[in-house]
């Protein structure tokens, strides 16, 4: 990551001395560069920058979805207000805090599981065996399936009456009665996590595999000659060397998991036991038409994710610097 961001000139941009001395060519290139960037920057400003600012603004107003032009500035009332002996606003809403907790619980548990399983799958794919290409293609299938479709597929397999999962577990004697996986608050979060882990482990596995394939072969040969146990080799050699790549995979996955919407929406709808921050904000915005309040939740979500990212980048700075060279 850092290699791209550091401002030393890329090799290609170091032009031959002769051409570079000619300031006319150089100025022309810089001008052209901005011209080429302009359309992209305009589009990003239109779909990201400006809407984000408007969301911040709406969060201080009483805007409603039916009419966004007639709005009143109400300060921090959407966030927190004390009125007649009671606190109101997003920050005083236990359901909001429940959704914050759910989101972090979901993100941390599912990303951890994905890293563990992803590394195991990558180790398998990194070994030489017959049918490796086939297994690699098979492992990619969950990743290729749209999230909505995988959520529906699992919803069907987890169905309380006709689902195959209950059938298998009952046949094996693990459970006595069918479980309502997606409806029962005790299990629904685990159902969501399971579907997400199934779908995104291939992504982590691919990144881990790419890192493993770049490792030098000679230390493995040396380890084999010395008769060191493969498990020890993994923990002492492979894991430390692929950690930078894993850190990058983890941040991509965490950012994705913290904004989770579709898996949860399809599997468990608006149930509070699995509600994520995105579901909460969208419900306020679209279903309750309360743009002001929903925007306040969106703004908080944005701030929480930004803070989590900064904290993660700060803590993992060393590893990410190495990650750039991987």
């Amino acid at each position: 990551m850092s290699t791209t961001l550091d401002d030393s000139a890329p090799t290609a941009a170091r032009l031959p001395a002769k051409a570079y001395r000619s300031t006319k060519v150089r100025r022309q290139r810089v001008k052209a560069a901005w011209l080429f960037l302009a359309p992209m920057l305009v589009v990003l400003a239109m779909v990201a920058g400006w809407p984000l600012l408007r969301t911040f603004y709406f969060s201080f107003t009483d805007a409603s979805l039916s009419d966004l032009s007639d709005i009143l500035f109400i300060g921090l009332e959407n966030y927190l207000v004390y009125d007649d002996g009671r606190w109101y606003g997003v920050l005083a809403d236990p359901i909001w805090w429940r959704s914050v907790w759910n989101t972090f619980y979901f993100a941390i548990v599912s990303v951890s599981l994905e890293v563990v399983f992803g590394v195991i799958v990558a180790l398998i794919l990194n070994a030489e065996f017959k049918g490796r290409t086939f297994v690699r293609a098979a492992v990619l299938i969950p990743w290729a399936i749209p999230t909505i479709v995988s959520a529906q597929m699992w919803a069907w397999m987890l169905n309380d009456q006709f689902g195959i999962i209950n059938e298998i577990l009952m046949a094996l004697g693990i459970i006595g009665d069918p479980i309502a996986w997606t409806a029962d608050a005790a299990y629904s979060m685990w159902a969501v996590i399971m579907v997400d882990v199934w779908k995104t482990t291939p992504f982590v596995a691919l990144l881990a595999l790419a890192a493993m394939q770049m490792l030098p072969k000679d230390c493995y040969e040396a380890a084999e000659v010395d008769g060191i146990h493969p498990v020890k080799v993994f923990f002492k050699v492979t894991l430390p060397l692929i950690t930078p790549a894993l850190m990058v995979a983890v941040i991509f996955r965490l950012l994705d998991a913290l904004r989770v919407f579709d898996v949860i929406y399809v599997l468990t709808s608006n149930s509070t036991s699995t509600m994520s921050m995105s579901i909460y904000a969208r419900q306020q915005l679209v279903e309750f038409q309360d743009v002001g309040y929903g925007s306040a939740a969106s703004t908080l979500l944005f701030l929480i994710i930004a803070l989590a990212t900064i904290a993660y980048l700060y803590l993992g700075r060393k590893q990410l610097n190495l990650g750039g060279d991987a």
Partner: protein, 280 residues
Amino acid sequence: MTSRQFNKLATRIGFWLLVAFVTIIAVFPFYYAVITSFTPSSDLFRIELWPSTWSLANYVQVFTQKSFLQAIFNSILIATSVVFIALLLGITASYALGRVRFRGRTTVLLVILGVSMFPQVAVLSGLFEVIRALNLYNNPGGLILSYTIFTLPFTVWVLTTFMRQLPMELEEAAIMDGATPWVTITKVFLPLMWPAMATTGLLAFIAAWNEFLFALTFTLTDSQRTVPVAIALLSGGSAYELPWGPIMAASVVVTVPLVVLVIIFQRRIVSGLTAGAVKG
């Protein structure tokens, strides 16, 4: 058998069991969806790994629904346009970011990275207003515009990485011959960038094809829905009698092309993903 040989054999068996386990976990849910889609609704209460009667009824039901065909058409239209726009804007931007040294380059890269990390919900209300102002609500145009928020940063990022790896001699020659930057892009870089563009285009297509939140929020009527929304909203009389057969048939229809594409292009996709993540 010595204990050493025994250990070796046990390791081999263990390894193959693990391979089999991973493969089954990866493939089984999709296999089961395919099986379900061919099972007549009346047989769905029986759980079978291989249907005793095969039926196309679920597919007939899905394809005779006009709204589903319309959703497929919308998805193709939207995903293709998004890919086209992302590549067009991405290739010029990545030339600027990958080949030219100028002040503010780092800032632009940081902005792009920042946008790619955006939670989509954070722009939902603002984007809703923009889309309404442009008169694009409940219209494929609104989705095409909004999907650039996640396809464009990704495309630019990956193409920039690829653009940098091209040797500088190529460009030197063009500059010596007095070629303008535009000519350099179209005549020198474009022919070399096709593989990278195919990869990023494919990934952008998949992302746009699968998107759900914007599609759910910025469309209203069945005729404007995209495939994921159509599948999520397929429902029967009540929550307890969801039409699982047709849902699985529709799921299989929209997933098979993606699975085939991913398997054909798996090498390319892996290189695109790793360029975007590891090297990015």
